[in-house]
Symmetry: C3
Subunit: 428 residues, 3 copies
């Protein structure tokens, strides 16, 4: 799958009205399962206690609008699913402009956009519109109408494990997590699942995978908490490195948000790859966390999870508004994310402690690995190889060597293959 | 006690002629005991061996002056007690100007001030005056007169321990040390004891103190060596953090002088508090030490003691001259030092390893700790709380968390109180 | 031996045609043995396996030239021994200009100089000349003539150990390694052996040496590999610090090339000395290694060896060309290197963990170590002494204290002697 394919999938997912539970999530996962037949769908019932949280009811919404006294629909949920405050209770009421405004949410800082607003933990009814539209409303009698209901049901999520296929599997997992719970937003919603589908496709095609690869998708926050509540021990036992996929479709500079300690294998490989892939990537701190790394890195959970994305979640102008539409993402943006994560996966698969099998420098000349005419500069022609050998002491892993010698992993991989085939390296 | 009160006490202490032993110290301690009735006065006899040192004799001085041939008193000890070389032997001699100058000490770099000069370890007689005055002396016959005597006696010092009053006392002490041994100098002498009196007053009023608080006052260098010789094991066993109080009354930028290793609890709390209290504080190294941290941090003693002051001791222009008078210090200067040390004490009392009691983020919404309407920016409104929770892993203490999340301790204290009352935190 | 003496020795060594084995090395070592009678000469036979390498044959060359059709010698080995490709096979052939050029090596970047080129691991015949000369050659018939032969023989090298002479020898060695294998090049060949001879002379004159001093000289790369193959265990057991001597005769800024980890005693003393000796020294990384530190620091060998030189080997414009002649080096250049290594040796000999024998500061006054008149500034007059005492905790070695207090070792050595004689310091 390439960037074009990912973009097309995003176009299919974008219009579906989603919330943290219910039909929107189910419909979205059904589309994804078309691409990933191995995907397993799971459901957790309303009311289930998951750590400090409780699985909420499903929110069903059929219709919602505001009409003026002439019957013109000022806003209509059918036109844009951000027009209703998430989790709104039903309402059917004729009100003055003054009263209406108590039910209306706008984003003052982005006057042309409909904001994304929810009220999960206090019962409310409400509507969202652009500040510009609100400011243009005239004195009138308005009809507020929401046909919604909250009912017991399930929280729906999915996962799949693509197992290792090498002769010597590591018995460890690489983990990818993304979310599906927001209404029509493109970068901060659809982009993560689209990249995940492409990564599953790529992993399935890899030969000699040493790692198992686990992919999870569900609602943000409550979904990852639920997944952790059901799988904490497995994840803690098996995860070697994990990544939150979010905001992967725009074509801006790359961003890195570390795990809580910032020193896990996930962090190390992310930083190593980003540094060589793009000089101007942005390095954030855990204080800038905004997505499910909040749960994976919480005290007691302590999983090695970080986030590599394009624009940082919560850090770009269209975030959580109707402006986060299909123009924000692009095939090029997706391709960049896919390249980075492909390099991350390759680096992880090759990240061993290599040890040179002889004392002193090996004699490269007799193996045809050194220029036969030795003159000023000969030595530098094979610098990456010689530096790799010089640090292959069995104590450092490949990522550490790469940092030390300033050479990207993808330059070192062919050298490693050659050294292994010459029996000059062994894996410790 | 506030800055005004401290300044008034400084005015009382300033005129007393002090040396490292004898009446001046006794009179000064008697005044301090008026404010701190619990203070215990101790005396160590002349000749007592304390580590590599010996308790010296008491120096008694009744009168000292230089008269010209017409009987005019050029300088008079009664007028300013810096006019005599500290520890001078008696003299009664008529001399030419040339010979007189062999007995006269001036500070060439500060021509208008009388310098503070002593000769503890070689027997001398001498006088101090301003360079300007010395340069104006004419040919004449001068009468040098000092009525002093050295006699066996005592080194006098005082201490007090204000015990913890919480249900779970830590059994550890916070230590404060200051000195009283210089003649009339305001910042580099009187300011330390005045701040100490205010701190004792504040500590006595604190509720639920977990720590014991020990306060010591005596002559600089020989006094702290003597105190260590008598109390080394207790201090080493019990001291959690200690601070040398010196030069606390001027209103210039704050200074920090670390302990020898610079990594003790005292250092950590001092740096944390200063950073947030005043952006332009000066951070010195142990090479800049000048007061009793020299003894507390000596090899083998190794106590966790640093120094937080206003102008660094030995580092301001009026230091060790008659210009270090009551105009150098001010109620505002004292108030600043008191604020800083109050923050230090509060930070120490709250500096525990807190651990969040649930896996993943706690559900703040249901406890009224998160905005019920969730929109762009909601998350940032409670940043200090969320960051504190995210790092409350039981492995870091509060100071480490404060450093990590960039929030001052006094902002975190109310959050901690709330988390404890919600049972979301436990103390490890 | 001073710089002049070293320069004179370099003049003797310069003209000898050398290769990695054979007569040139033997003749050079014979000259060196005149200065160091203790030197032991060793030989390893052709064909001996040393780790991943094999001792090569000896290359004997008697005559080599190119003549034009009129019998003019275009180049002649007798005139400059760089004119022949190192390890050339015999040839005796009349060729056109076009064919001749296939046998000619030049340095395009340095058009006036004859480059130093070898072909150890593929059999070739070849000539080296300046680019300018090559470009001036006209169409003609040329006679290429090389009278050389490869024959079984030996690799020749030498070493000597000057033992400790103190009452309490450390049983550890300081190691110096240099090489002798290049034809006429002055800085990147002759300078190392010359400095080594001067160091042997200096070490023999030192009193109370605590360390043994081992000196090795042989061909670069294959020589040190051979030496390691024969002495690895001894070197690993005994070496405290080692140094590669190369490019020690020019008068440019000093250079430091670290060991692989950069944290050995050799690295620490080198950096400490260089920092105080010359502010503008160049600090390289192990990626810039170019001489036998490549072998000493290889994985599994792991010896504490770094390199302190003037111009970095492989990093100066005349390197590996005929321009690296006796004008590149100078008595002044040699003197600088000798000074630095003398300071390194002194620092190593004094590098103990000193511990002050009393609690708190010692009373310096009664020992005449502190000004008897104490006034502003007295304290700073003895700063180096006081700082040394303050950090003499028995946990830091002298190098660490020097770093901490910013004082060069040669300033501290007399203080240490005094402290030891006063019994204020003990060696831990």
């Amino acid at each position: 799958m390439n960037g074009q394919d990912m973009y097309k999938l995003a176009q299919r997912l974008f219009p579906i009205p989603r919330s943290i539970t219910g039909k929107g999530v189910r419909d979205s996962l059904a589309i994804i399962k078309e691409y990933v037949p191995e995907l397993e769908i799971h459901e957790t019932p309303t009311g289930t206690q998951v750590f400090d949280w409780t699985i909420p009811q499903e929110w069903e919404i059929n219709e919602a609008y505001i009409e003026d006294s002439k019957g013109n629909r000022i806003i209509d949920f059918a036109e844009h699913n951000l027009h209703v405050l998430g989790y709104s209770e039903p309402i059917d009421k004729y009100v003055s402009l003054e009263e209406l405004l108590e039910y209306v949410y706008v984003d003052e800082a982005r006057p042309g956009a409909i904001p994304y607003v929810t009220s999960y933990y206090k019962k409310r009814s409400g509507f969202c519109m652009s500040k510009n539209q609100r400011d243009s409303l005239k004195q009138d009698t308005y009809h507020m109408y929401i046909d919604s209901k909250l009912k017991d049901g399930f929280l729906t999520y999915a996962d799949v494990v693509i197992p290792a296929d090498s002769e010597h599997p590591k018995g460890k997992e690489i983990y990818f997590s993304t979310y599906i719970c927001h209404p029509s937003m493109a970068n901060n919603e659809c982009s993560g699942p689209c990249l995940m589908v492409a990564l599953i496709d790529a992993v399935k095609k890899m030969k000699n995978r040493k790692y198992d690869y686990r992919f999870y998708i569900g609602p943000e926050t409550i979904g990852s908490i639920n997944y952790l509540a059901h799988n904490l021990k497995t994840l803690q036992d098996k995860m070697a490195a994990g990544f939150v996929l979010t905001c992967e479709g725009d074509n801006r500079v790359y961003s890195y948000i570390p795990s809580r300690e910032g020193d896990t294998l996930a962090d190390r490989v992310a930083l190593n790859v980003l540094k060589h892939h793009s000089k101007d990537y942005l390095r954030f701190t855990f204080l800038d966390r905004a997505s499910d790394e909040r749960q994976y890195c919480a005290p007691g959970v302590d999983l090695p999870v970080c986030c590599v994305c394009r624009s940082r979640c919560a850090g770009y102008p269209e975030y959580h508004t109707s402006d986060d539409d299909l123009t924000v993402i692009s095939p090029e943006g997706f391709d960049g994310s896919l390249q980075v994560y492909t390099k991350i996966i390759n680096a992880l698969e090759y990240n061993e402690n290599y040890k040179v099998t002889c004392f002193c420098e090996p004699q490269l000349g007799k193996r045809g690995l050194y220029p036969t005419v030795s003159k000023r500069g000969s030595y530098d022609e094979v610098a990456a190889m010689r530096h790799l050998i010089a640090y292959a002491d069995g104590k450092r892993d490949l990522l550490q060597i790469s940092e030390k010698i300033g050479q990207p992993i993808d330059v070192l991989i062919p050298v490693i293959d050659r050294m292994l085939s010459e029996s000059l390296f062994e894996i410790v």
